[in-house]
């Protein structure tokens, strides 16, 4: 291959294609091209795995850090980038084969998907704070547009609410970046991390709080996540799956990456992040119990899982961090499947209410079966992937002799069982004959192909978690090893 395989392609290729796409007139060739790009990016991520296992890749752009801008592809960044592209490729395949609702046809969703992936990749890869802000806004604006893809009342309302709350979060993040620059004169994250301890303590608190508010809103942590269910309910379920599966994971990574890098003593952040994670888990799972709308139930369930991941990541031990990263992968797969199946069910019933979906499992046995499978994975039942990652997290806490998170996670699983079985029971309920459904035809058989692929991945990762174990442990070490990251970046300057 003439072009070198470097991390910059993860950002350049999707941006380039997304901006060129509107100029392309021949629709027949455009859709395969836009879908193919996702596959190419996934292949690129896979091709970089051997190199990154040896050492993290640093790509400087024009000038070396700390003055210039660089991309930092270490084990954890590669894991997330691979996850994003895998999820985006599966979603693009589904949207392409499904050809369902009108607002998801044509090139628009594919172009926005490319932009979103470019933004998320950039946030994970970049080593520069201001770049981070720009990518955060790219991902943000794309998410607003995706939310309002369907120009009906619910879609526009979701988009508007998302713009308002997202802009406020961005202001707080920018404020923190400005304060950091004024205090240290640096924007390179590693250089800022090296100087951060020298900042006066009250200013450190102010910066920390601004970052926490800005990124806490974006990463959907309690108490900043009041807006999330509205957005997930108003957006198309395929878009909601993307928010829950890709976007939140990117913001969560940014929050923890900055917390681990900036603070020399991670115990300061531990209290806050674990506390927020625990509160998110508990509140979301409790509220999910009584949701009458399938999309809202899934949104609260997603929040609960985000809380669980934050709780495990915040503990900063290697075992819980690796388990949390594994749980990120599993949650992305499971929520992708749940939201996409929910989309099919909702379209058939022309409603997302519990009453309307009653008995639908008999008309759509495959969809209902996949819904049950993904629910079981979220609950953490063997032999599904969710079990393997939850077990890993619980073992990590048990090894460290800390038991309250274990009790909390198990209690959360119990609540999850409560509300997921309520919906599964409704899907398979007998008695009242299914009412006349909307005019929506049954989805094309081929649309189930990506869904079955996700289900197969969930089964595979549950049955053979050791396939990923070495990479996950490597990723956890890369995320936690502050000194190596700083040295790797600042030592690279000539």
């Amino acid at each position: 291959m003439a072009l070198p395989l470097t991390p910059i392609w993860f950002i350049a290729l999707p941006l380039l294609l997304a901006f060129l796409a509107p100029l392309w007139a021949r629709l027949r060739l455009l859709l395969p091209l836009l879908f193919g790009a996702q596959v190419v990016l996934l292949a690129l991520a896979a091709a970089l795995v051997p190199a990154v296992r040896q050492a993290p890749l640093l790509e400087t752009i024009v000038i070396a850090p700390p003055l210039g801008i660089h991309l930092h592809l270490d084990a954890v960044a590669l894991l997330l980038v691979t996850l994003f592209h895998g999820a985006a490729a599966l979603l693009a395949l589904f949207v392409w084969l499904d050809e369902g609702v009108a607002h998801l046809r044509g090139p628009r969703p594919f172009v926005l998907l490319l932009l979103l992936v470019a933004g998320c990749d950039g946030m994970v890869l970049t080593g520069d704070l201001f770049n981070l802000y720009v990518f955060l806004e790219i991902a943000g604006v794309t998410a607003y547009a995706l939310s309002a893809l369907h120009r009906d009342r619910a879609g526009l309302e979701a988009g508007l609410k998302y713009v308002v709350i997202g802009s406020v979060a961005a202001v707080f993040f920018l404020f923190a970046v400005v304060l950091i620059y004024l205090q240290t004169g640096q924007l390179n994250i590693a250089a800022v991390a090296a100087d951060f301890a020298a900042i006066p303590a009250p200013m450190q608190v102010l910066i920390g709080l601004s970052l926490l508010v800005g990124l806490g809103i974006k990463a959907e942590l309690f108490p900043f996540n009041f807006w999330v269910p509205d957005i997930y309910q108003g957006s198309d379920p395929a878009v909601a799956s993307l928010f829950s599966g890709v976007l939140v994971k990117a913001f969560l990574f940014v929050l923890f990456h900055l917390a681990f890098l900036l603070l020399a003593d991670p115990r300061v952040a531990q209290v806050w992040l674990m506390g927020l994670g625990a509160a998110t888990l508990l509140v979301a799972e409790t509220v999910a119990l009584r949701q009458p709308d399938l999309r809202r139930m899934l949104a609260y369930s997603s929040l609960g899982q985000i809380g669980l991941i934050a709780l495990a990541l915040g503990f900063t031990s290697e075992a819980t961090t690796a388990g949390a990263l594994f749980h990120m992968v599993n949650h992305t797969l499971a929520k992708l499947l749940l939201f996409l199946v929910a989309g099919l069910l909702i379209r058939r019933a022309a409603s997302a209410r519990l009453e309307a979906l009653t008995g639908l499992g008999r008309q759509m046995p495959l969809a209902a079966g996949l819904f049950v499978l993904a629910s079981l994975s979220v609950l953490g039942l063997p032999p599904l992937a969710g079990f393997a990652s939850k077990l890993w997290i619980l073992t990590g806490f048990a090894e460290a002799q800390v038991f309250w998170p274990i009790a909390l996670i198990l209690f959360g699983a119990l609540l999850e069982a409560g509300y997921y079985f309520r919906w599964v029971k409704a899907l398979y309920a007998t008695g009242d004959a299914p009412v006349a459904r909307g005019p929506a035809p049954a989805p094309a058989r081929s649309a189930y192909l990506p869904l079955l692929l996700i289900a197969a991945l969930l089964l595979l990762l549950g049955a053979a978690p050791f396939l990923l174990e070495a990479d996950l442990v490597g990723a956890a070490q890369a995320l936690l090893d502050r000194a190596a990251t700083i040295e790797g970046v600042l030592g690279a300057q000539p």
């Binding site: 009906d152 526009l156 309302e157 508007l160 713009v163 308002v164 400005v178 004169g185 108003g234």
Partner: protein, 125 residues
């Protein structure tokens, strides 16, 4: 006595107070106003206060633009160019997001006749 106002410390204090006042006005507008467009204006004011703070604190009185022209041959007594470049970028991004938000608000108003954020009740528990 008025020389005091020209000292960097005094100028910076004035700008910090001004930008804090702007931020508070924006935050108040965001929380207290219900009209969609007014909420977007409030967010724009909050952004503006951050830009002002950045530019004001990164430069001191008497510094010039870091451009070698008009007889200037050395980089001395010049302002740090990074904050200016970053603020320009941030202004562009902020304006784009604002335009997008206002577009959505106009679409929403045409569709439903609603411009009050409290009346947006399609998505609720």
């Amino acid at each position: 006595m008025l020389d005091l106002l020209d000292s960097p410390g005094m100028v910076h204090t004035i700008y910090v107070l001004g930008s804090m006042a702007l931020f508070s006005i924006g935050l108040y507008g965001l929380l207290a106003r219900r009209h969609l467009i007014k909420i977007f204006i409030a967010i724009a004011i909050m952004e503006l206060s951050v830009y002002l703070l950045f530019i004001a604190l990164a430069t001191s009185p008497g510094e010039t633009a870091p451009i070698l022209a008009d007889g200037l041959t050395r980089f001395a007594g010049m302002a740090d160019p990074v904050p200016q470049a970053l603020t320009l970028t941030a202004i562009v991004i902020g304006m784009a997001v604002l335009a997008f938000g206002v577009t959505l608000a106009i679409h929403y108003h045409r569709l439903t006749g609603i411009r009050d954020i409290d009346a947006m009740t399609e998505l609720k528990d």
